[in-house]
Structure formats: structure tokens, C-alpha cells
Symmetry: C2
Subunit: 614 residues, 2 copies
């Protein structure tokens, strides 16, 4: 039944070689991987103007140079990531680059930051989607948190179905947003150029004003840069592309960067041109929409809808990138192997489920008020940016290909600006970013412990070889089998028949209590009559537990068997009722015993299943 529900929800299993069919064209990849980056234009310009507005309306012209600086950073990051895609086509992005060039620990810092960041993305985006719904239906306001979790569950289900189906679903909101914003920006610029909407900027560029400090400028810049989160997702997901994977991934990244640059530049320009001031009642983007389309008409509402939709699906970037990053970490033994298992639909289901669980926990902890997480989130992005781009400089230095100095220069610009941003965030927002200093050492410790465990296991399991190049073997002279007997039924008979087929020496073990000595005697007599060829040992327990006396008897048998060079098997007869619910009607002590015997050395635990027909 569980199987059927699973089929309906996530679809029929796919063959392993169908994998190619699940890989992505550029159009679909853009839908799947760009929603996070593109959605950030909904708040990027606003966060710059909000930061500047503290110094008064006169400071607002600074949004233009800051936007230019952000675009420079975007260009540097994108060019750098295109180089990363070609240099590290197996995915892993910042993690792979930092590991190879700076060493494994730097790689883990980059990887750990991004893993946590993807959880934050999903939590923030799902909360934003829930906010959009509750804004439309205020009656369900008390259910924002459950609603956010429903969004996470829907995205999880979609991603478990597979990449292509998620992409099909995401095509609409992403391309709808792209079209709507292109129309809005072009129409706005057209009106500005033709003078239909005259220049209304609060102050001309270059106007001097008091109250501008370096700190303020840097805060505004770091706020604006939060628009660049999500850019790294494509570099993590290269293996999901159609072949030639690197070429398609690089082209998709370029397309995304171009759209992002046009949107961010266009919106900031219109915000400056219209002289828009940030306020708590309406977003900068909605003010621009209202100005451009001449009030609160159809155009305005379409922009609102498109924005809500893209925010809702932004989480999906995390769902595409997290499992791939976890896969890379698991391959290097820093995460459990289970992140390397593909599900029936060939997605890395465990990664998808872990991300969903993490995001749901964050939503519950922060009760949907996830705005305070943004600076933390930015640190989690710019630390890996810094590590990966500085790592690329080392990469070029080592390889020295054609034009390597130019390539290294691009990475230097990206690394420098990213590093400045990280320092700025720690210097000006320590009240929001301090958890990073706790989370990162914890995550690193866990990564290293896991790897240590895997390496120790591998060492312990490695075969020893004798001189003749064959594995070292042990040849037993026989097998001793202990059969657990409670009362004498068909299950006992069959189990003993089976025990005699595998064992050279079979002994029946019965645990008796003080409750009913007559019954115990009867069982013993019947056994000796029915199985005259099998030794019957009655173990007496003064307590109610059967585990302790059973273990001490078995230990004694093991000692003797080692002298005879026998292997030891404990055979637990168990009947299987026709319907699973009927199991609660039977005292299956065998489960408890099995767990106890599993802890003993030199014992193999075997279950003889007797199947009931009715």
C-alpha cells in the first residue's frame, strides 16, 4: 500500500540508464536554477536604498554607483564561475575549487557554508511564498508557519519526481517573471527617454551631502550584493545538464547573468529616475510598477503576481543544488554514503529530504520571520565566493594556460570584492552573523568525524592476504547450531530439521521460569520424546528476562565450539502471520534476542520463518 502511494506521488521508478533522459536543456536549466538569483532583484535595489535613506533622501543618488559596483562584482563572479564550470565539470562548484587549491578544510568551509545556505534559502523563500498567500487571504494569517511547511512539502514532492518534471513546472513562473520585468523596464525606459515620465530624482548624481560615512556606504553595498546569492547554483549542478555539459552550463550561467544585470540595472535606474523613496507600506519594485504603468491597474497587479510567484519558487534552486553538493561531499567521505543513493526516479532523494527537513526546522524555529537571516545568509555565500575565486588564482598559477594572467585578474577582482564584503558583514552586522562562527566549527567537526570513521572502517575491513596471494581464510571443522525452543509446535519441528541440515551438532535451548514447573516438565518430556536425537537444555531464569540467561548459555557454547573449531549459529524459529497486524498478537521475543546476540562476537544469528497459511 505504501508502495502504491509512493507511485502516485512520485511516479514509476526509472531505469538507471534513463538518467540521460532526466538531464536538462538550457531553457529548463534556467528555469530550475535561476529562480533564486532572479527573485533577488525583487529586493536588491530596495535594500540599497533602505540603507542609504538613513543618511537622508540626498544620499539616494549613490544607488547608481553602488549598483555599478554590484554589476562589476556580478561580472567578476560570473566570469569566474564560467571558468570554474570548465575547470571542474563534475560539479561541486566552490567546494571542489577550494578543496583542490586551498586544501580540504577550506573546501569544507565553502561546502558547509553552502549546505547551510541552501537550507536558509528554502526557509526564506517558502516563508515569502506563504506571506504572499496570507497577504491575499488575511483569514489564514495564523497558519503562516504550517503554510510555509506545505510549500516545502510541495517542492520536495516535485523534486522527488525528478529534475525534468520540476523544470516543466517551474518554466511558467520563471519565464513569466522574465517577460513581465522586461516589458516593465523597457516601457519605463521608453517613457523616460521620450519625456512622458520626466526626471524626478531626489538629487542629481554627485550632489554632496552630510552624514555619508564609509560604513554606511559599505552597508548599502553589502545589502545590494545579497542579490548575487544563487549565482553559484549552476556551478554545483553541472552534471545535470545535457551533454556537452560544461558548454551548456556556462551558456546558461551567462544568460542568467545577463538577465540579472539588465533587471538589476534597469530597476535601479528607474528607482533613481522616479526618485523613489523606500517605505514600509510598499516595496520599491511595486512603486516602480505603479509609476511605470500609471497607477494601480492591470500592469501593477501583473508585476505583483509575477514577483510573488518567483519568490515562491526561488526555493527550488536550493533543491537542485543541495543534493549535488551533498553528493560531492559524500563521495569524499565527509557526509554519509546515503547522499550517494539515487531514488527510484534517479534524484538524490536523501539530499532532497534532508534539505526539506532542515528548512522546515528553520521555519519552525524562526516562526516565518526569516528576514533577520539575510545577513547570515550573505556571509554563507560570500565566504565560499572568496575561497573559490582566490582558489582559481592558485589554479591558474599552477596550470599557466594561455592568458592565465588575465584569467587570474578576473578571479582576483571577484575574490577581492567578496572578501571585502565578508569583512564588512562581520564588522557592521556582527549581531546577525555571529551564529556563523558557531555553526561552521560544528559542521567542520561533523564532516571530519564522518571521514575519520569511514577511513577507520575501510582500514579494518581491508582483506589480509597470505603469501600465496590468496585471501586469508579460516576452515571450520563443523557447525554448532543452538535452536531456541519455547513450546513445541510445527515451527519447532521444521526449525530443528533445518538446524540438522546446516549443523553437525544441534542443541535446543529452552528458558524456563518459576511460574509453572509442571508445564516446564511436560515440555521437556515431550521434546525428548519427539526429538530423541537432539540435546535439550533447560535454562532457568529467576527473573522475567530471557535475554541474560540465554546469552550466558550461548557464550559457554561459543567457548566449547572454538575448541572444536566449530562455527556457532543461533537459530530463532519464528512464525509469520498472514497479515502484518497479527504480529501484535504474538510475543515475538525473537526480536529482542536477535538484537542481544548481534552484539556478541563469533555468533551468526539465523531466523527460521514458518509461514502461516490462514
Amino acid at each position: 500500500m505504501f508502495e502504491n502511494i509512493k507511485r502516485i506521488l512520485i511516479g514509476k521508478p526509472l531505469k538507471t540508464l534513463d538518467e540521460g533522459g532526466q538531464s536538462l536543456s538550457k531553457t529548463k536549466a534556467l528555469a530550475l536554477l535561476s529562480s533564486d538569483a532572479l527573485s533577488s532583484v525583487a529586493y536588491g535595489t530596495e535594500s540599497i536604498t533602505t540603507a542609504l535613506f538613513i543618511a537622508g533622501a540626498a544620499a539616494l543618488w549613490l544607488q547608481i554607483p553602488i549598483a555599478l559596483l554590484v554589476l562589476v562584482l556580478l561580472a567578476a563572479i560570473v566570469m569566474s564561475y564560467r571558468q570554474i564550470i570548465h575547470a571542474y565539470p563534475s560539479g561541486g562548484g566552490a567546494y571542489a575549487v577550494a578543496s583542490e587549491n586551498w586544501g580540504p578544510k577550506a573546501g569544507l568551509v565553502a561546502g558547509g557554508s553552502l549546505l547551510v545556505d541552501y537550507m536558509l534559502t528554502v526557509a526564506v523563500s517558502a516563508s515569502a511564498a506563504a506571506d504572499a498567500v496570507t497577504a491575499a487571504f488575511p483569514a489564514i494569517l495564523p497558519f503562516t508557519v504550517p503554510l510555509s511547511i506545505v510549500v516545502v512539502i510541495l517542492l520536495t514532492g516535485m523534486n522527488l519526481r525528478g529534475l525534468r518534471e520540476s523544470a516543466n513546472f517551474l518554466m511558467f513562473p520563471v519565464y513569466f517573471f522574465i517577460c513581465v520585468l522586461i516589458v516593465m523596464i523597457l516601457w519605463g525606459l521608453f517613457q523616460a527617454v521620450t519625456g512622458q515620465l520626466p526626471y524626478q530624482a531626489t538629487t542629481r548624481i554627485g550632489t554632496s551631502f552630510s552624514g555619508l560615512s564609509f560604513v554606511l556606504f559599505m552597508r548599502a553595498f553589502s545589502s545590494g550584493s545579497s542579490s548575487l546569492t544563487g549565482v553559484e547554483a549552476i556551478s554545483n549542478a553541472v552534471p545535470n545538464f545535457k551533454a556537452p555539459k560544461e558548454k551548456h552550463a556556462a551558456a546558461t550561467l551567462a544568460a542568467m547573468a545577463l538577465i540579472l544585470a539588465v533587471f538589476f540595472g534597469g530597476i535601479t535606474f528607474l528607482s533613481y529616475w522616479y526618485g523613489i523613496k523606500p517605505n514600509v507600506h510598499s516595496t520599491v519594485l511595486s512603486q516602480i510598477a505603479a509609476k511605470t504603468f500609471g497607477g494601480y491597474g492591470v500592469g501593477f497587479y501583473i508585476v505583483q503576481l509575477a514577483t510573488a510567484l518567483i519568490l515562491a519558487v526561488a526555493a527550488n534552486t536550493g533543491f537542485s543544488a543541495f543534493p549535488m553538493l551533498a553528493l560531492n561531499l559524500a563521495r569524499d567521505k565527509y557526509l554519509p554514503h546515503l547522499y550517494m543513493d539515487r531514488g527510484d526516479r534517479l534524484g538524490y532523494s536523501n539530499g532532497i529530504l534532508s534539505l526539506a527537513l532542515g528548512a522546515a526546522i528553520l521555519i519552525v524555529i524562526f516562526h516565518g520571520s526569516t528576514d533577520a537571516l539575510i545577513p547570515l545568509y550573505a556571509v554563507g555565500v560570500f565566504v565560499p565566493f572568496t575561497l573559490s575565486q582566490s582558489g582559481m588564482i592558485i589554479h591558474w598559477w599552477r596550470k599557466k594556460p594561455q592568458n592565465w594572467l588575465f584569467k587570474a585578474f578576473i578571479n582576483f577582482v571577484g575574490a577581492f570584492i567578496s572578501a571585502v564584503l565578508v569583512i564588512t558583514l562581520f564588522a557592521t552586522r556582527i549581531e546577525h552573523v555571529w551564529p556563523y562562527l558557531l555553526i561552521m566549527p560544528t559542521v567542520l567537526y561533523v564532516f571530519l568525524r564522518i571521514r575519520h570513521h569511514y577511513i577507520s572502517i575501510a582500514r579494518q575491513l581491508k582483506l589480509s592476504y597470505a603469501n600465496n596471494d590468496n585471501a586469508v581464510r579460516h576452515h571450520y571443522d563443523g557447525a554448532t547450531v543452538i535452536v531456541l525452543v519455547s513450546n513445541i509446535t510445527k515451527v519447532t519441528t521444521e526449525a530443528i530439521d533445518y538446524a540438522q541440515s546446516i549443523g553437525d551438532y544441534v542443541v535446543a535451548m529452552h528458558v524456563s521460569f518459576d511460574v509453572n514447573p509442571k508445564k516446564e516438565l511436560k515440555t521437556a518430556t515431550q521434546f525428548k520424546n519427539d526429538f530423541p536425537d537432539v540435546r535439550y537444555v533447560d535454562i532457568h531464569s529467576s527473573y522475567r528476562s530471557i535475554v541474560k540467561p540465554a546469552l550466558s548459555f550461548v557464550d559457554a557454547v561459543v567457548k566449547q565450539s572454538q575448541k572444536r573449531n566449530h562455527s556457532v549459529t543461533v537459530l530463532v524459529p519464528q512464525f509469520v502471520p498472514k497479515k502484518p497486524w497479527q504480529n501484535i498478537l504474538h510475543n515475538q521475543n525473537s526480536l529482542r534476542l536477535r538484537a542481544a546476540f548481534a552484539a556478541r562476537e563469533d555468533i551468526s544469528v539465523s531466523t527460521y520463518y514458518y509461514h502461516l497459511s490462514e
Copy 2:
């Protein structure tokens, strides 16, 4: 660690033969088993006056005749149950009597009613205890439901520690209540006789008034009879008494009945004498306390405290009687055998835990407002009363001992009044008691299904005997062992060595995927080099699941082995990490495979445990 927590909470395990030490003296038994019955005097008189007050203050004199009728019923029930204790000393009370004399189904109706009733008792009493606490500390009012559940958990823990320790704990609230009420009633009567508190009854006995209908009278009577719930508990718990069990149990029942009669009679008389009218602000008992002790002084508060305490521990009657009743039903195969298992402290832990769970669910469903459950609860008590007492008439008719006609007459009075009460409850309170008509058939159906299953299992498991009076056996000519191999490690070597010790024919089964054909080839080559004496079978899966292809191969082997008269063992090698948490780092496919193989006939599933030392 779990074991240690358990030791602290419920104490060290007891030896089975210590059981005698856990049995009860009369004083302790009274504390343990009478709290439910005695606590009901806290609301018995009140429920009569409340029902009468609907017809006006003039009707209140009727509380005296109704109380007398309730006392007659009490006498009949108690005398009847004393007879039941002697006739059925193994406990089971109404269930045993009804089963033997009316037939099994009547017994199940009685037993089922009481099982559900004990859950209701615990829910109602735990809610009353929580109400008493929140009345003292109104700040925690929103936490009434969790608080009620805490009360249930505390009682559960106490009962898991064992009978005697619960009894020690309960001595104080029960005997405190008894002393306080005796002092109050005697002091009240003394003042009434000496004229210090003059006669203030609203109307003299016999005053006629309008508005009294037969229905009203019966409602008042049935309300008053709810004080008699809990009387049957002692008859269910006879086996818990010190020897001679029946004598002690009968004496305890008589003592309890006497106390109950004095309390109920005394309180009703004082209520009439003082002319107390029921109101929503203070209970009848607290009004009597205030009058008797001259206002709201120390005496008044001591009565309040004693009442709150006895209500809180009333639930314990259920905890003592439910497991014994469940034990009797389980012995007759109407409930799962697990109700026959004693815990480490020799209590029937599963009964205790089931009761606690049922009560907790009722508390959550009814949100602590459990008053509406009282009529339902009364039906659940008087149906078994009717069945057991009418059953006793049949018993005397069959046995015809000395004075049997007199004994049968006592039971007839009890049965008649109980039957009238049941009819009254269904006729006048159908809006509250209808769930009984749903619950009872469901419970009966479950009982009968369970018994049917046990009987069918026993028949299927019964040994077949050949002519020579020995069990029918099957002698195998050998054993085939299939070893699951994923990669080749020390675990594989040891598992194969073991397999060769138990098997005559050993085959290694490996499931391969399409992912990495080179690696699969390498594994095969290494295996053939290391284990030249073992056949290696590579099973190919196009999907990600290893279960299906493994099963179909094993089925083929089973077919062949049957021809050779071999038994078949599937051996799953598994390594056991040093610390349990490390299990999540490993893909233990073996669990999934074990479950799948357990569903196949003619296969024994064996696990070879390799213990890691680090």
C-alpha cells in the same frame, strides 16, 4: 542507558518468586482499590440534589428516600460481590461470572464495558486532579490538558514500580480522606443532636409538591447510583491479596462498603438537615463542611484538601483493576498475549501502559471536560453489574448450596435495581449514552477476531504425529547457502568461511547496476581470485532496487534445492559499528532484504555479524 533510566524510574527487577512479597494486606488493598468508590461521595449527594432541584426546593426532601434506595443497592451489590469473590477467587469479577453463567458473549460485554470504563475513570479522575491544581493556580489554566496527562504519567510510573509501592503512596490520601470525613460527619451529627446546629431543612419529609414526575425521580436515583462505581474493582483484583486471598478480599470489600455507606448516608443526612441547595459556585460537600466547621476556617480547608487528594488518586483503582481484567481476557484468548507478560517488577506492564494510553487519548479528545462522560460511565458499570448478579442467580440454581434461595434473592435485588438503572439511563440520557451502542459491538468484534486468530494459529501449529508416535520429520540431504556480496572485505571472507561451515553448496550473489561496469568487473575478478572454490553470480539490475532481482534469483535457487533435498539459507554479512549512531553512515541494505526474504517460504535468513573494534 535506556536500561539505567528504567531502573531509576521503576526500580530493580524482582524475581518471579518474589511475587508473594508484592501481594497486599487488607489495609493496603483498601488504599489501593477503594479510592474510586470513596471519592464518589464527593459528588454523589450533589448529583441527587441537583437532579431534584429542577422540581424546586420543595423536592429536596426526596434525597433521603433516594439515598436509602442507593444504600439498599449498595448492600445488594456488595453482598453479591462478596459471593462472587468466594465463587470466583481467580479474579475477573463480572467477566468471569457472566462468562460462566450466561455464556462467553455476555462475559465479553461485561468485560469490554469494564475495560472501557476503567479508561474513563482514569481520564475523569486525572482531569479532576488537574482541575484542583488549576483552581489553586489559575495562571496554569491553559495547561489543564497537559497537566492531566502528567497526572496519568505519574500514576503509570507508580504502578509500573509495583502494587505495594503504589499502595504505600496511596495510604496517605485515602486514610486522610477517611479520617477527615469521619470527623466532619460525627461533629455534624453531634451538633445536630445537641441542637447547636438547628434543623433547617427546606421541607419536611413527605411534603407534597407539584412537578415531581417518575422520570425525575429515576434521574435523581440513577445520578446518585453513580457513587457505586468502583465497587467491583476488588472482585477483579482478588489474586493480588495476601493468602487467604478470598477471605481478605471479602473483608476489604465489606470494610469499604461500610465506610461508603456511612459517608454517603451521613453526607446526605447533613445535606438534608442543613437544607443545602446545590449551586454552581460551591459543591454540596464544601457547603456542608462550611456549616459544620462554622465558616471558612481550617476545618473547611482540610475537607477541601482531602477531597482534592482523593479525586486525584481515584484513577488508581483503574490502574489496579484494568491489568487484571485484561489478563483474564488474554488468558481466554480475547486479548493479545502481551497482557499476560509481567514486567520486571511483576506488574502486568502492558495493561498499565494500555490503560494510560487510552486515558490520555480520552483526555485529549474531550479536552478535560469529562463531565459529559459520567452517564456513559454509569452504563458501563451497571451493565456488568446486571450481568454478573443475574449470572449469580444461575450459579446458585445450578449449585444449590445451603441457603441458596436467600443468596439468589440478594443477587436478584441487585440485578433488578441494576437493570432498572440501565433502562433508566438509556431512556432518559440517550444523548449521552449512545456511544455505548457503537463501542460495545466494535469491542466485541475485536475480541472475537483475536480469539479466532489464536485458535486458527494453534491449529496450524499443532504437531502432526506419525504412526510410531514420533513427530513427523523431514531429513535434508544437505544445505545450500547463498551469501550476499556487495564488495570484498574481511566481512565477506568471514561470512564465506562461515557459510562453508554450515553449507554443502555455497554460492555468492552480487547485484550490479549500470553505473560503473568497470568496477563490477574488478569485483568479479577479485572474488574469483580470492575464493576460487565459491560460485559467483552477478545479478544485473536496470533499476535502483536490489530487492527484486535478488528475490528472483533466490527463488530459482530454492527450486533447484528442493530437487536436491537441500535446505536454503540466505546469509547477509553485516558489520556492526562500535557505536550505534555510526549505523546511519552505512547503507545497511540488509534490513530491507531481510524483510523481503522473510516473506518467502522455505528460506532461512541468517545474518553474519562482523564486529568492528574501533
